[in-house]
Symmetry: C2
Subunit: 315 residues, 2 copies
């Protein structure tokens, strides 16, 4: 089959490789569309190796059709969306059956392929781990990003007050249109001053650089979840301040979870989020679709920051 | 009435003061016995001021008899144990009704007075916040201390594997007799090496000094709860390491909680812990009982480290 390979010079090229072998509990999916993630860029650059035992091929989410149901009770020909530890930049991918999702009602392969990772990330962290209650205030860092735009819509639907940070007036305006209530330009204002003791929940993608400010922004019994470390890995934690608020800090990643965990997240996300996609309560925006062989160009576009919404590769 | 007052030279003396006035929802309790806590020493030294609006008098727990039920539906003459934000080193104390507990079956006033704070602290953090499941491994720092001995017994009753740290062979032996499975002398061994990636739950009283080691010791999906900062307030958090385990860190304090929270904790502790005290599943050890006027001596004994178990003042 054809698949994208990363050359020694880190260029992405289409090459002939072996079709993946199915392990017990896996199905073979003929890939129709692949979502492009920032993590794919990291992996191509050698910084984010796949978990042991998983495909070396890039690609954390896709949609397609079951080609071979293996030893499972799924049906050949079934249309599916898939959460993956890797392998989607290819004609075929092996998928543990717990990571198969239906295509959201009314969604194309492209739309489905590009919503899986963000939906599972946002729901597992905000819905399953931190828990969102109406009336709470949620701070979302990078509100205009892929994770951010999704999280704003979910939180507004659940009746929260939403504060966001973003790097420009235009991006803040985009957040506002999605429902965000408090808009903070992180280049001009200190969010910890604006939101001191006010945030019941924080979804953080910055890590070390924001650790102290996030603790300042936390409300009593507040819970922050760190899912990205764009601002560094090690930061000083003021435990006294955290204790005075009875605060909680979690840090999570989706890709390295075991099969049971992923199956659990996939099940819960399908139950809670798929209906919201079908009804258009949460809208998902594709920036552009390119053919798989232009993977290199897609990565370049993401790198250059010229993308608002998701990039998709069609196979 | 008589109450202990802290003089300018930080000596504790018995003095005449006004009886407390009841606020709505409070009852007046005639104090029979008071538990002495390390926090009382801190407060006497001026380092741990009472929360705004509460008594200036020392004393976080007591047992006694309701003298005046105020506007509540409690009964005059009822025997009660009380969780307090302060005020127990006295003949009478005003207690919000949500903070009244029954005397555990078979317990004396002295035993009841000295078990409230530790029971509410351990249960609210391990039972209500972190949650303990059979088969998990729990690390308890300071296993031979007041909090530690109580936590060991609770965790063993709930079917966990318990690891403890303590500062001497004798103290570790005492932990072993209470059921602890893994004994670590913190003066001789690095607990993070012994328990790397093994601890589903950690109860920490050290804070900054152990932050990095605690994160190393955490298992996947592990949760540590910090309730003391004997080793400092600010420490470096390795967010990358926490994220790789999907770990959670909480920091909590009991005294500053609001009335609803305290009532909730008191209710749950009465439900889950009081039967274990009545049955002797958890045993509670009083080191010595002194009369209230010897509060100064009690503080000195605690300061000098000559106490194993609780000190009680009888009124
Ligand atoms: N742990 C997991 O399971 C998991 C899963 C998926 C994604 N992630 C992580 O989540 C993060 C976001 O992913 P994404 O797909 O949404 O990427 P994205 O669309 O590229 O968004 C990145 C965001 O970071 C924002 N940002 C950069 N510097 C900032 C600062 N100093 N303060 C506030 N915001 C800042 C950007 O805001 P402006 O453009 O306005 O500057 C942008 O919105 C990434 O770090 C990714 O690795 C983690
Ligand atoms: N947040 C809250 O709501 C709350 C409520 C109650 C208590 N606390 C805190 O909990 C802590 C314990 O209270 P307690 O009543 O149990 O006091 P305690 O009986 O005096 O115990 C103190 C313990 O600290 C241990 N310790 C000292 N240095 C240590 C180290 N480097 N490593 C491991 N253990 C060490 C001691 O162990 P060795 O004697 O073996 O050296 C001792 O067991 C205190 O810090 C207290 O302030 C917090």
């Amino acid at each position: 089959m054809k698949a994208i390979q990363v050359q020694d010079d880190q260029q992405l090229v289409l090459a002939d490789v072996e079709r993946p072998e199915l392990k017990p509990g896996e199905v073979l999916v003929k890939v129709k569309a692949v979502g492009v993630n920032r993590a794919d860029l990291l992996q191509a650059a050698g910084h984010y190796p796949p978990p042991p035992g998983t495909s070396e091929v890039l690609g954390l989410e896709c949609a397609g059709v079951i080609e071979d149901a293996g030893d499972t009770d799924r049906e050949q020909g079934e249309k599916v969306a898939c959460l993956l530890a890797g392998g989607a930049y290819a004609e075929y991918v092996a998928v543990p059956q717990g990571q198969l999702m239906p295509i959201p009602e009314g969604y194309s392969f492209e739309e489905a392929a590009s919503v899986v990772e963000v939906a599972c990330t946002v729901w597992s962290n905000l819905g399953m781990l931190a828990g969102l209650e109406p009336g709470q205030t949620l701070l979302i860092h990078g509100g205009a990003g892929g994770i951010g735009t999704f999280a704003i819509q979910l939180a507004k639907h659940l009746g929260l007050t939403v504060a966001v940070t973003a790097g420009s007036k235009e991006k803040l305006q985009a957040c506002k249109e999605l429902g965000a209530d408090v808009l903070i330009n992180y280049k001009e204002e200190d969010f910890a001053e604006v939101l001191k003791n006010k945030c019941d929940r924080i979804l953080d993608i910055i890590g070390a650089k924001y650790l102290d400010q996030n603790v300042k922004a936390l409300a009593k019994d507040g819970h922050m979840v760190i899912i990205g470390m764009q601002g560094g890995v090690k930061g000083e934690l003021n435990i006294g301040r955290l204790l005075s608020k009875r605060g909680t800090i979690s840090a999570t990643a989706l890709r390295a979870r075991d099969l049971d965990d992923k199956a659990n997240i996939v099940r819960s996300t399908t139950e809670h989020i798929w209906p919201l996609l079908a009804k258009g309560v949460i809208r998902h925006h594709i920036h552009q679709t390119l053919p798989l062989e232009q993977a290199q160009r897609a990565h370049q576009m993401l790198q250059d920051g010229e993308v608002t919404g998701k990039l998709v590769l069609s196979v």
